[in-house]
Amino acid sequence: ACSGGSGGQVPEAGGEPVPVTAGVIPIVDVAPIYLGQEQGFFAERGIELTIETGSGGAASVPGVMSGNYQFAFANVTSLLVGAHEGLPLQVLTNGASSNGEQGGDFGAVVVPADSPVRSAADLAGAEVAVNNLQNIGDTSVRESIRQDGGDPTAVRFVELGFPDMPAAVETGRVDAAWIVEPFLTQALESGAREIASNFVDVDENLSIATYFTSAPIAAENPELIDAITEALNESMAYADANPDEVRRILATYTEIEPEVIERIRLPRFPAEVDRGSVTTVAELMVADGLIDAAPDWDEFYR
């Protein structure tokens, strides 16, 4: 893997391909980049793409900061926090968005089958599992409760990895959980009940995650980054248009069971970051005290 050494090169059609490394998380949301790699969208632009998987922000942000990755995948909230803390992060393009279907989105709040909780408002006083605290999960779930007329301050959140959530819900270890695919399908099939589509409640076009790089990398090699952005956009468009292709590619880089792949709900993959939704998220984060102010959009988005 590595390194900054490729930073000075410019991709040329027909020339030596430029090695580029991307850091992603091996989940449903990153299907487009795998599709793009497979379809040759990167190779066409003289980019020899290597995809490395990690477990999220802990590796991807420092990976980009150190020049180890030329770009990486992370959720919007993390990037907003990072930018707020002064990290020179730059968003290249959208990564995954809510599909906007109330009750059919790829992430949802679920409760055990026999739970007295009927809707988001009932969550007041409950313990809700989210994968990371002070992140998109608790922010959006609070919004769901608020919109449902409940008291968003009365809910307690606890951190739990997505893979552990179906079991925790089924065994009643938590009152509710915000789960994403493929664990959402798993939970629903083992009897959990869906009570809210928290992404849709925030914004039905909510941009959840994006691909990003760092300002120094972008400044050093703008042509390469442009080429990457183009390839990403093409990949997104391809994925958005071909959900079957998405399901097919999932079988190659994840280990989700084939039957489950058939049934899971997919996010949408618009190429453009929905600026409005990000602003909404930033405002919610300001309201929750995660950040003081939304970052300057023009600096943040390339």
Partner: protein
């Protein structure tokens, strides 16, 4: 020199011993941070300021205290378990042969993959976190106890046998005492591992705690805050190890005496 003067000098020497190297290292850190200007490596003064801001607050009660309580509970449980199991396994080669592969198996399982299983079995509350701590820090105690028990002097063992000292008395006066230097080595190891696992246990199914806070700082790119948390962990380790040293000194009184005596000190 007056007695008071002697004591003061001793205290001074001790302070020098404790502080000299850390002072040097902090200076090095300073130099490194100044030259690298890396976002992830803040200067020690920044960390010191942050430390005061972050930890001299109600956080020390809300986050650190419950963590430390869990840490001590886990450590105590691991100590009891490790010594009890270790004594049994160390005294019986058969039992050792029987259990060793399975124990070695568990020993090699990383906590991040063990935690989901523990969540399944023990839930997500304090019990699970204490179990995570136990699951990690029982090993050095267990292994050292096993080896210490195995190494009981055969002449002493024969002495006990010939006077028909068996059962609990034998355990207390022979086995545990003669293995105690090695058991202490294990406990000392376990203490710092317990701190590490306290952090790891709070990376799962948490909403508060020292480890949780540190991880949260890390995720939120609050790097000086994160370093201040690590410093706190180090200080905690230092404090616990000083306390442990006192216990060890009294438990191994005979051992150190014996060593010093032969050298005629």
């Amino acid at each position: 020199m007056s007695r008071g003067g002697g004591a003061a000098a001793r205290l001074g020497r001790r302070a020098l011993r404790v502080c000299a190297l850390p002072a040097g290292l902090v200076a090095l850190w300073w130099a490194a941070a100044a030259s690298s200007r890396s976002y992830y490596l803040p200067a020690p003064d920044a960390v010191a300021v942050t430390f005061a801001e972050v930890w001299f607050s109600e956080r020390i009660l809300a986050d650190a205290l419950p963590s430390v309580v869990r840490l001590l509970a886990g450590f105590a449980l691991a100590a009891v378990l490790g010594v009890a199991l270790g004594t049994a396994i160390g005294s019986s080669p058969r039992l050792r042969a029987f259990t060793e592969p399975v124990l070695e198996f568990w020993r090699a399982v990383p906590p991040p993959v063990l935690v989901p299983l523990l969540i399944l079995l023990a839930g997500i509350d304090d019990a699970m976190k204490v179990l995570v701590i136990v699951s990690g820090c029982v090993w050095p105690i267990l292994l050292n106890t096993v080896e210490g028990v195995r190494a009981v002097d055969p002449v002493l063992a024969d002495t006990c046998r010939s006077y028909r000292i068996s059962g609990f008395t034998r355990l207390r006066t022979l086995v545990l005492r003669s293995a105690s230097p090695q058991i202490m080595a294990g406990l000392r190891q376990a203490l710092s591992i317990a701190i590490i696992l306290m952090v790891i246990s709070e990376m799962f199914a948490s909403s508060s705690g020292l480890g949780f806070t540190i991880v949260q700082f890390q995720r939120g790119f609050a790097i000086p805050e994160m370093w201040s948390g690590i410093v706190l962990l180090g200080l905690l380790g230092l404090a616990l190890s000083l306390a442990f040293q006192r216990v060890e000194r009294s438990v191994l009184d005979w051992y150190h005496g014996l060593r010093a005596a032969t050298r005629g000190e």
